[in-house]
Structure formats: structure tokens, C-alpha cells
């Protein structure tokens, strides 16, 4: 029986190194891309200042130097200005606008998922419904997003980026993220499978015999697995935000990452990727805490006394 603290411990360590590992990997990958932004804005063939621009953007001293400088500034909350996505705008402003939007989008998309999970755990949602959810899940997020984008554009026309239309885009984005790409179907069937497997355990049978409710008994044991599944779902949603935000033109982190990567705006890409990594790290910490809490709860639970007192029901 391995020590209970190993698994949450590993998660906490991962949560700490993630926000450092991800920007480092991204910097190496981006550096391998052919050409650089200074060449695009001021091509050496037609403009004399390429070297000067590269020096100003710290592109002339290798990947490690750029990464170190960027991390140092980022630690002080200074992310520099966007080179090409929103030329001249501080990346900090872009993050301030994008992170809340993406979090709202993901949380809104979680609502149907959580409801589905509770419904399947408690049996409110019958297994028969799974087929229907799978059919809806069939439609790729791209198609729902396309329909939503066209509808908003036609409905609001010139006003399609004012607060009213943006709220509609968020709602549509949440629905698309939550339902399409099989997200909802996977959540429901995943939780149902977990509880089904748990219900076959002996202790649940005993709990039934003792007249206790199975859910209360199963919950502590499945809590870590549930946390794991929930984290997987959120990561899946986060990954889906890139496509949904770009198609539905939502000013979120995914859209920022896509635009930054296409235009090789290194400052924006690193900031967006690090933000993603931080969200992942937070999820890891939450899962670790749940595991620790369950482990502590299990250790403090009363030990089962010897056979006679344990089963008054049997005696009756």
C-alpha cells in the first residue's frame, strides 16, 4: 500500500513547476520557427533598422536570454507591449481583458457538465439518455460555433461587438463548449461508469444492509477520481476555448494565443501560455487538496468494532 501522500505530493510539485516549464518549452519551440517578428515588420531588404528592432525586443541574444528577461519582467507584472497582435498595446491590458472572459466562458460551460454529472451520479439521468447526448456530442464544436457567429453577425450587424452582443457570444460559446465535441456525453458517462464500478464494491452492499444511503458512503472513496475527472473536463474545455473563441470572436485567452502564435508575437504567446499553465496548476492544487482531505477524513473515520456489534440488522 503506497504512502497516501505521494500522489497529492507529486501533484503539488507539478503545480509549482508547471508555470515555469510551459513558458520555457514554448520559448524553445517558438525560437525554432523560421524568421522572426523584427524581420517581418522591418524586412532587411527594404528597411534599415532590423538589427536595432531585434535588439530592442531582446531577440538578438538567444532563446535563454529572451526567456530569462521575460520571466524577470513577468515576475514584476511587466509583460511589455504587443508587437503585432495589437501593436503598441500593453500585453497586461490584453491579459486583463482575456483571462476573466475565458474563465467566465469555462465556468459557464461547466454548469451543464456538473448538472449532467450530478444527474448521472444520482440516477436522475437514466442511462437510456446517454445515446441522445452522444448524438449531440457528435456535432463538432466548429459547426455550432459557426452557426452562432453567423447568427450574431446577422442579428447585430454593426453592433455585434457591443456588450449586448458579446454577452450572447459568451452564452453561445458556453453552450458550444459544454455540449459539442462530446464534452457533455463524456462527463455523464464517465461519472456514471465511476459510480457503477464503485457500487459493485462489497462495502456498498454492507452499507445497504445497514440501511445507509450508498451515495454518502461512496462519495469519499470516489472523490479523488471525481476530482480527477472534473480536472480532465476543465482541461478539455480550456483546450476547446481556442477554436470556440476564434470562431465566435470572443476576446479570450484562446483567441489571444491563436493570434499571437500566428503572428509570432512572442510576448503575447508567452503571456497567454503561462496564464493557461497557471490555471492548470490551480486545478492540480485543488485535486491534491481534495485527495489530502479525503485521506485525512479516512484516517480519522471510526474503526469498525468487532463482528457482533457491527451488524444489529443481521441479528434482527
Amino acid at each position: 500500500m503506497t504512502a497516501w501522500w505521494i500522489r497529492p505530493g507529486v501533484r503539488l510539485i507539478a503545480a509549482i513547476i508547471l508555470p515555469l516549464v510551459v513558458p520555457a518549452i514554448i520559448t524553445l519551440l517558438i525560437w525554432a520557427l523560421p524568421g522572426d517578428p523584427a524581420e517581418i515588420i522591418c524586412p532587411p531588404e527594404t528597411c534599415g533598422g532590423t538589427a536595432e528592432l531585434a535588439a530592442r525586443w531582446n531577440l538578438d541574444a538567444g532563446a535563454w536570454n529572451f526567456f530569462r528577461a521575460w520571466m524577470g519582467d513577468a515576475a514584476a507584472g511587466e509583460f511589455g507591449r504587443s508587437w503585432r497582435v495589437e501593436q503598441g498595446l500593453p500585453v497586461r491590458d490584453l491579459l486583463d481583458e482575456s483571462i476573466p472572459t475565458t474563465l467566465m466562458l469555462v465556468l459557464a460551460a461547466l454548469v451543464p457538465l456538473v448538472l449532467g454529472a450530478v444527474g448521472s451520479a444520482t440516477g436522475l439521468i437514466p442511462p437510456r439518455a446517454d445515446g441522445g447526448f452522444h448524438t449531440v456530442g457528435l456535432v463538432p464544436a466548429v459547426v455550432f460555433a459557426l452557426l452562432g457567429a453567423a447568427y450574431v453577425e446577422l442579428e447585430y450587424g454593426a453592433q455585434s461587438f457591443l456588450p449586448g452582443a458579446n454577452r450572447l457570444r459568451l452564452v453561445l460559446g458556453a453552450l458550444v463548449l459544454g455540449l459539442a465535441d462530446g464534452a457533455f456525453a463524456a462527463a455523464v458517462s464517465g461519472v456514471r461508469g465511476l459510480f457503477a464500478a464503485e457500487r459493485d464494491q462489497r462495502y456498498v452492499g454492507i452499507a445497504l444492509l445497514r440501511g445507509e444511503r450508498p451515495l454518502a458512503n461512496m462519495l469519499p472513496n470516489v472523490a479523488p477520481a471525481l476530482a480527477g475527472q472534473l480536472r480532465a473536463r476543465v482541461l478539455h474545455l480550456l483546450s476547446g476555448t481556442v477554436v470556440v473563441e476564434v470562431v465566435l470572436r470572443i476576446n479570450g485567452l484562446g483567441d489571444l494565443l491563436w493570434a499571437g502564435t500566428l503572428l509570432q508575437d512572442f510576448g503575447v504567446v508567452l503571456a497567454a501560455a503561462t496564464a493557461f499553465a497557471l490555471v492548470s496548476a490551480v486545478l492540480l492544487v485543488i485535486q491534491a487538496l481534495v485527495e489530502i482531505a479525503v485521506a485525512m477524513w479516512v484516517r480519522r473515520a471510526p474503526t469498525v468494532r468487532d463482528g457482533a456489534a457491527a451488524s444489529p440488522v443481521v441479528a434482527a
Binding site: I6, V22, L33, V142, V143, A197, L235, T241, V247, A277
Partner: protein, 266 residues
Amino acid sequence: MLALGAFALLAVAAFAAPAHLVEPEPSRSFAGPLDAWPFGADRAGRPLLEYAQQGARVVLGPALVAGCVVAASSVAGGLLRCVGDPRVDAAVQGVGEVLGALPRMVVILVTALLIPSTSRGLLPLAVAWAVLASPGAMDEAAAVAERLGGARFVEALRAHGFSWTRIFLFHVVALNLRPVVVRQAAEVVTQVTFLELGLSYLAVQDAQASFTHPDSLKSWADLLYMGYPSIVLDDIPTEHALWTGLAMVALVTAIAKFATSAARAR
């Protein structure tokens, strides 16, 4: 049987896919399924069947490879848990946590841009996606192996005189890990299909070269992009393209579903 049948259909489509679309035939522009069997035609009068075939060719290979990668890592996860060495378990879990936590689309995007535009394809992206999905699969397989009894189950079978290979390959993998491994692989096959559709559409929308296939091939995303206006706008004769695209996606998902239930049946 259904899974094999659907898979065979898709494989034949992919195999028969033309390298390039046929010559345009304006007289059959946007012809319906009845006029241009079986799926109708596009604006230039070319059959949508070729779009479906080329889309299958783009998706099938890489999706299967990704499925195999996830299946392999899932089996590895289960077997390692049967070994029962805590240090190995911790190491596997540590790597899994970091890989699993990486924002998947971030890595996919940067990988997509790393590949020179003339030799872009779905395979490297599918493998990258599979590698990122492996930790989850290994976790689940390990949980199943744990429930079996892990190392104690193996020792019991050893006591019966079975050889190591028979224990691991037949008893552990074939009998017990099979459902979860097949389900994980099938899920990744579907996810890779949806990934291809998403990336293909984003390339079309942002006037970029395609990330997932050479531009001479069409993707199912082209069918969906051609068809979606017929829903929102009137007098746009492209509904048949939308249904064709959705039918293709349904085929892939059906294969995954049937394979999963087939693995669980025995």
C-alpha cells in the same frame, strides 16, 4: 461487427480518395444528392463524395496512430501498476501530471506552426495530442489494475504456474485492461477528428495555409464551412454539404462507440 463494418467503409473511402478533385462541371453547380449521387456537388459541380474521401484520407491514418499510442501507454500504465514499485508509480505519475496539465491546444498550435508549410500534415499533431492524452489513459488503466489487486494478483497467478508473458498479456491486458484501453483509444480517435476539423476551419477563416493537410486535399471542415450558411441564411443551396460533413463525423464516432462496446461485451 458493426465497428469493423463502419471502419471498413471509412478505410475504403480513404483508400479510394483521389489525389486531386476532378475538373469543374458548372452545369452541376450545387447539384443535390439525387442529381450527383451520392452526396451532391459543390459550387464548381464537383461531387462531394470526393471531399468525403479526401477528408477520410486526411483523418484516418493519423487518428488510428494516435489511438494506438494512447492504447500502448494505457497498457503500459496498467502493467507498471502491476509491477507495484512505488518509485516507478510516483515517477509515472509525476511525468503524467506535468504532461497532463500542459494546455493541449498551446502545444498543438506551436507544433503546427513549427512544421514547414509545404510538408504539413495531421500525423505529428495527432501524435502530439496522443502523448498529451496518455497520462489520463495511464491513470485509468492503473486504477483498473489496482482494483484487480495489482502485484498480489500477479503473485497469485505465478503461484498457479503461469508464465510471466501469459499473465501480463492474457490475464492482465486481454481480459481486464481491454475495455478501458479500447475506450481510451476510441475516445482519442474521435478527439483527433474534431481537432482536425477545428484547425482546418481556423486556417480557412484566417486565410492561412492548412495545418493538417496539403492544400490539394479537402477536409471535412470544407464541407461544414460550405454548408453552414444554408442554416442561417435563406436561398443558399448547400444544406447537402452540411449533412454530408456531419455524416462523416458520425461515422467516426460510431466506429469508436461500437469498438468500445465490442471490447466491453465479452
